[in-house]
């Protein structure tokens, strides 16, 4: 517990918090699978609902994969701060003397490792289901790898604003959807460019820029949101 007192250095506090969250997540290993199972179900619903025609599936594959990723992320976001809020840990973080921004960043990173990264790793399977051409596979994984952290970072702001609400989770999707629109457009645009054998590097570059921007700005907004929610 020494690491979380204000006498500890910032990196030690950061990693202590990260380690704690990851430990807690792995203790409930089955809960880690829920977003992934949701992802599998959602993606398989599309061929079932639209028809198995390979050409059509390939055409909509980038969008379907990305929408499923968005939905799965929003579902998993709610757990980001909620249990800590409910047992008062979040308030302890607030008064611990450590910068709340850092705490927000650590928890967001834990969330991505637990919910976003598995999504990235599972995506090739889903792409095969949706008949995505193999030449676009790498770009697809790259877009997910670059942009799922953005989803976690921006989503964390929304969670920070709604964590003290009873039905916060339902409002969350309305809050973050408009903020996710650019990510969706650019990511799917990149995959579609790769499918059409057009240059896709610009899209990845934009996602990288978005990642850097949200990495530097979002934790501050999340911290501000948490301060408001806890006031």
């Amino acid at each position: 517990m020494n690491e979380l007192t204000h006498t500890a250095s910032i990196p030690r506090a950061f990693f202590a918090l990260l380690r704690r969250d990851l430990l807690l997540a792995f203790r409930r290993r089955t809960e880690l699978l829920y977003p992934l199972m949701f992802l599998l179900v959602v993606v398989s619903l599309f061929p079932l609902g639209i028809g198995p025609g390979p050409a059509l599936l390939a055409r909509i594959a980038p969008g379907v994969l990305w929408i499923a990723a968005l939905l799965a992320t929003v579902i998993s976001l709610d757990s980001l701060f909620r249990s800590d809020f409910e047992d008062g840990t979040l308030e302890q973080y607030l008064i611990s003397g450590h910068p709340l921004t850092l705490i927000a960043l650590a928890k967001t990173l834990a969330h991505w490792l637990v919910a976003g990264l598995p999504l990235v790793l599972l995506s090739p399977l889903l792409a095969i289901w949706m008949n995505l051409p193999t030449r676009a596979m790498g770009v697809m994984v790259a877009t997910l790898a670059l942009a799922t952290p953005i989803l976690s970072l921006i989503g964390a702001i929304g969670v920070g604003l709604t964590v003290s609400l009873r039905r916060g989770g339902q409002l969350l999707s309305l809050l973050v959807f408009p903020l996710y629109v650019p990510v969706l457009i650019i990511a799917t645009g990149g995959i579609m460019a790769a499918v059409d054998d057009l240059p896709y590097q610009a899209f990845l570059g934009l996602l990288l820029a978005g990642l850097i921007t949200s990495l530097t700005l979002a934790p501050f907004a999340t911290a501000a949101a948490l301060k408001i929610s806890l006031s």
Binding site: T162, L179, P182, A221, I228
Partner: protein
């Protein structure tokens, strides 16, 4: 105050005005006096602009009569974006300086902005049917307006979800600010995503605009600003009434005679 003796009186008065407006009773009284005039100017400008736009401007070369929808669609779309910007600025002031009147003004702006956005969407859709053949196209402007509507609804939803008014307002103001930062990104990405819609700001008919077509548009643009001001102040006063129901200054404020125009309500 002695340190201010070197400042010219005029600057002092302006600063004083802003400080006064931050106080609910002052704001309440001042807004109450302003509202009828704002409505009057709006009504006059709107009547004039609508008359010119609907009955005086000649039919368009390409679009025939349907371009007349422009006189409500374009001002509504402009207001939807302007109000969001103002709401975010007010939100910023409210968050940084904790000015309660600013919180109330920001939260009162949201429904008005949402209304304009909705009007822009519906009129845009109705304009699209005779122009492009369908009621809805996913073009840059309509899609952006739709996302903007969701942003507004998010702010309003978040505000109404929290129990305590000041905390709710602060949360919603932060959300509005985050949305503002994202707005250019959203617009850029949507615009890139679809280049169907002609994106010049005034000329749906491009170079065919001439002054008799432009004039009603400018009048309606100014008219909608007065509508916003009048509606905003009305909503802000009502919010103060609701929140400060039991406070002493309210009783004094509503007992004032007809300057505030509230006596009609009391005597019913």
């Amino acid at each position: 105050m002695s340190s201010k003796q070197n400042i010219k009186p005029r600057k002092n008065a302006l600063v004083l005005f802003f400080h006064k407006m931050g106080s609910p009773p002052w704001f309440f009284a001042f807004a109450g006096k302003l509202i009828p005039w704002l409505w009057a100017v709006f009504a006059g400008l709107a009547a004039w602009g609508l008359y010119l736009g609907l009955f005086r401007a000649p039919p368009d070369y390409l679009q025939g009569e349907s371009f007349r929808i422009m006189y409500i669609h374009v001002p509504a779309a402009w207001m939807s974006m302007l109000i969001y910007g103002l709401m975010a600025v007010m939100g910023f002031i409210a968050l940084v300086w904790r000015v309660r009147v600013m919180e109330i003004l920001a939260m009162s702006s949201a429904p008005v902005g949402a209304a304009f956005t909705l009007a822009a969407l519906i009129t845009g859709s109705l304009w699209g049917r005779p122009t492009w053949g369908t009621y809805w196209v996913w073009d840059a402007r309509l899609t952006s307006e739709l996302v903007l509507l969701f942003l507004y609804l998010g702010v309003m939803g978040l505000y109404s979800a929290h129990d305590e008014p000041r905390k709710a307002a602060r949360a919603a103001c932060l959300l509005a600010l985050v949305g503002l930062v994202n707005l250019p990104i959203i617009h850029f990405s949507v615009k890139w995503w679809n280049t169907l819609h002609q994106d010049s700001s005034i000329g749906i008919t491009g170079s065919h605009i001439h002054i008799s077509m432009l004039w009603p548009l400018l009048i309606m643009t100014v008219a909608t600003k007065f509508y916003y001001a009048a509606n905003l102040l009305t909503r802000a006063r009502v919010m103060l009434l609701q929140q400060d129901l039991r406070k002493g200054w309210i009783r004094d404020a509503v007992k004032l005679n007809d300057d505030s125009g509230l006596n009609q309500g009391i005597t019913q």
